[in-house]
Symmetry: C2
Subunit: 319 residues, 2 copies
């Protein structure tokens, strides 16, 4: 009997990753194409078709059951990518409909962070959980909210944009056109901003002071913190405090079993996680005290995007 597999596709601004995924979450074959090579969506879809067929051949005796796609500004309800500023296809792109012309299996799409949450549920640390949140801390802060075993899409399909919780009215300018959003504080770009604020506020010497704003990365801040740099440590502390406030609010909203953290900023050992847990313990409302865990994602960074998209496909055929 052929092994029933799904295809996971992760569309990024630069590269698109495509993988053949087995039911137990093993990536049997994968490849990538350059997203930027295809100024027209039709050309991109034709390239996806070709790539998928080659991968299926490579994977051997398999039967394709469904295709899942994670994409910036992906709208699950409509199967479209909408006004994605990082992609060259403008307006509303009906990607699912276009790809369905090539394949007679379900094709589903959502944004990358929501796909990652499903990946955690189907293949990762959230197996068996009905209520949890995954936060991806990268350039911005993405999120997927699962309630009663289902991803929350809401009326618009764009529920779960927790990076845009207002943490400080009249706070830092956000790419969304508003101010004080969580992702302007808690993300790899947010912690850089925090370091620069701390340069102004404090007198601690720090080798980071020699690095211009445009060149400072969260990795450099993490490395400095590991060396005991006071500014860098304070930046992690502040980042953790802001995230803790947001997490306490998330608990008041949906009382989850766990909050999963994914992405570069959370891989800095316990630099973020330790103060985060401390601030949450100090500030959580009585109802929720010790009722949920804060955990690093169990998906390996390299495969997470493909596994997330694959999980979306799995969900589509098992409901």
């Amino acid at each position: 009997m052929k092994q029933q597999i799904t295809i996971g596709i992760d569309i990024g601004g630069t590269n698109t990753k495509i993988g053949v995924v087995s039911p137990n979450g093993k990536v049997l074959a994968n490849n990538r194409i350059a997203t930027t090579d295809y100024p027209k969506i039709e050309g991109f879809v034709a390239a996806l078709d070709l790539e998928i067929r080659q991968l299926l051949e490579k994977a051997g005796e398999v039967e394709l059951t469904a295709i899942g796609i994670g994409a910036p500004n992906g709208n699950y309800l409509k199967g479209t990518i909408e006004q994605a500023t990082n992609l060259q296809w403008k307006g509303i792109v009906p990607l699912c409909d276009l790809l369905k012309k090539y394949f007679s299996v379900p094709v589903v799409l959502t944004n990358d962070a929501k796909a990652a949450a499903l990946g955690e549920m189907i293949y990762g640390g959230a197996k068996g959980m009905k209520n949890f949140i995954l936060l991806t801390l990268g350039t911005g802060l993405g999120s997927g909210v699962v309630i009663n075993g289902e991803l929350v899409y809401g009326k618009t399909g764009f529920a779960g944009e927790l990076g845009h919780l207002t943490m400080e009215p009249f706070g830092r300018e956000c790419g969304c056109g508003r101010e004080g959003c969580l992702e302007t504080y808690v993300s790899s770009t947010g912690i850089v901003k925090t370091v620069f604020e701390l340069f102004a506020e404090r007198r601690d010497p720090s080798p980071l002071r020699k690095i211009p704003y445009d060149l400072l990365t969260s990795k450099m801040i993490a490395d400095a913190a590991e060396e005991g740099d006071q500014i860098a440590l304070a930046a992690f502390e502040q980042t953790a405090e802001t995230l803790a406030t947001a997490i306490c609010n998330m608990a008041a909203f949906c009382s989850p079993e766990a909050i999963f953290l994914f992405g570069g900023l959370t891989q800095s050992g316990d630099l973020l996680l330790d103060p985060l847990k401390r601030f949450v313990d100090e500030n959580i409302m009585g109802y929720y005290r010790r009722s949920f865990k804060i955990l690093p994602s169990k998906l390996a960074e390299a495969d997470a995007a493909i596994l997330g998209a694959s999980a979306l496909a799995v969900k589509a055929i098992t409901q």
Copy 2:
């Protein structure tokens, strides 16, 4: 054929209301007992039993299908009232189990605001909606969150405590032991606090300045605002602004179809609703712009608590 009815019970610190409710949301018969007359829960349950049997008789040819209860700190998952500071029964009270000894129908319990949200869904303005939030603005701020057609209880049963979203770290002291919670700003007690802050900040003359803190009510503030009192108007404006920030965050969380407002503070004509809609329009993220309505509850205040509890019973037998 007998009409199939539910019983709705609303337990308050002072009174407990009991009503017989028809399938279309008509209260066929109702009564109340003094909650405070029963220092022991067993006595209270026996009194409920007696009262329910009398009401069923009074209602005529009816068949009881289920009993729903709204109570402070009601835990739906366990059927218990837990550590309710406004009630004299301490600790964890297994109310559903106790009442089931008297009746052979489903008995379900949740907190009053969650019951009110279900009342809105079954009998009120949220009929047919799958995603909405109801906020009750009274002494505190209660809430019920409905996602994918289901009330959100979360892991603990205490999800949806939106009155305890942190709006301002190190802000006003809250009864929950924390600081800056939404309900310390947006509630009938919150707006009183805001007026007293405004007395300090501004020089506008106002007849309200003659009223001591302990005697000032939100009704007096509403009346003064209707007369053009600048302090009172500013207090409604500030209350609306804080609530707008919270509502924008709720949209980012679950992208609802509507936010319903219930309770005294929202009945002050458009004093709250007009600035609230304006602030939301100004601050909402693009995804959600004009995607949801802010509406007053459609349930009459007098019947709402009984209808909410009844709706919980209806949900229990229709799933």
